[in-house]
Symmetry: D2
Subunit: 106 residues, 4 copies
């Protein structure tokens, strides 16, 4: 795992979460998507912070990636529950990012 | 209008938007709150950026405050439509912040 | 320690870090302030995220506060080294915030 | 200009600014880089917000892109002054992003 690969995983996950957030808000049954909306937002935000920390060589990059991995994992678990394509795609991006961030955090 | 007053208005508005966002997601009729959820998030984020820019003496503080005023105004207009107390309170905080940011932007 | 007190400690710390960042960039001897500039930025950003997470009832608020405590502690240690008033004041705000976030994270 | 192209220009610019910020802080003559450090930070932050707004279909995406274009332009002008490769590369990324955001803002 290189720094570059982890940054790319975070960029992909941030995009998937932002798109899933938007798509969830447009779903007919929004009520069912409430937790997904919430975790999508949290996950996109921590990914953005992880990207910034890696790109700017933050002394806290490893710790931020560790937290990012935890939130990505949780967001993936939430998205996984829903059949919408945007949720399934988001879950995959979250799991990939969680794995990348975990190995970066070591 | 001093810098300090505008920062405080942004802090108050950010708080109101974050709380309204959370409360909207918990409302029985979430469907009705979708635009409010969206604008609350946008408004809290631009207020956070405006606070940072003013506190750190950003050369772009005036331009950021100008945009913040526009988003606060729009968020206030959206919140205003809903009778929930958190929406009404948020609308007031948004309008106060919009006014503060407008005069700061000049 | 209530949620409100921890949010306030983060708001105070964010402000101190943003002001210290700006003041450090204006110091005659900037070279000496490089690490302080860096940690001030990191600390202000994680405080902003912690505030958002607590105000919006994030399911990750405790984990974000835990990381915030670590970064505040490190920023306090860096600021403490410098005699400038803005650094000393920032160190104090960082330590207070670290303590508040640590007890919130439990 | 598609949405996708503008998002990519912002991602590239954010990366260039974050790397330039880090590299500037490591320069022997930091004193000379102070304004560059400052605008790099501002520019990376507004690019991050523009990315989020476009990816999540924000009703304020156009306005945020307009501001992003202004800050990118100013950051490009600052970076352009310095001969370091990271500054020259950042200036180019800033100008490309400014152009992309301007056409998006229309």
């Amino acid at each position: 795992m290189t720094y570059e690969e982890c940054i790319q995983a975070c960029i992909d996950c941030m995009e998937a979460c932002n798109r899933c957030y938007d798509a969830c808000l447009k779903e007919e049954n929004v009520k069912m998507m409430v937790e997904c909306i919430r975790t999508d937002r949290e996950c996109a935000d921590i990914c953005a912070l992880a990207i910034k920390s890696m790109q700017s060589n933050s002394p806290f990059a490893a710790q931020i990636c560790k937290l990012c991995a935890e939130i990505c994992e949780a967001c993936g678990n939430e998205c996984k529950k829903h059949d919408h394509q945007h949720c399934q795609e988001c879950a995959e991006a979250c799991y990939r990012c969680a794995e990348a961030c975990r190995s970066m955090a070591k």
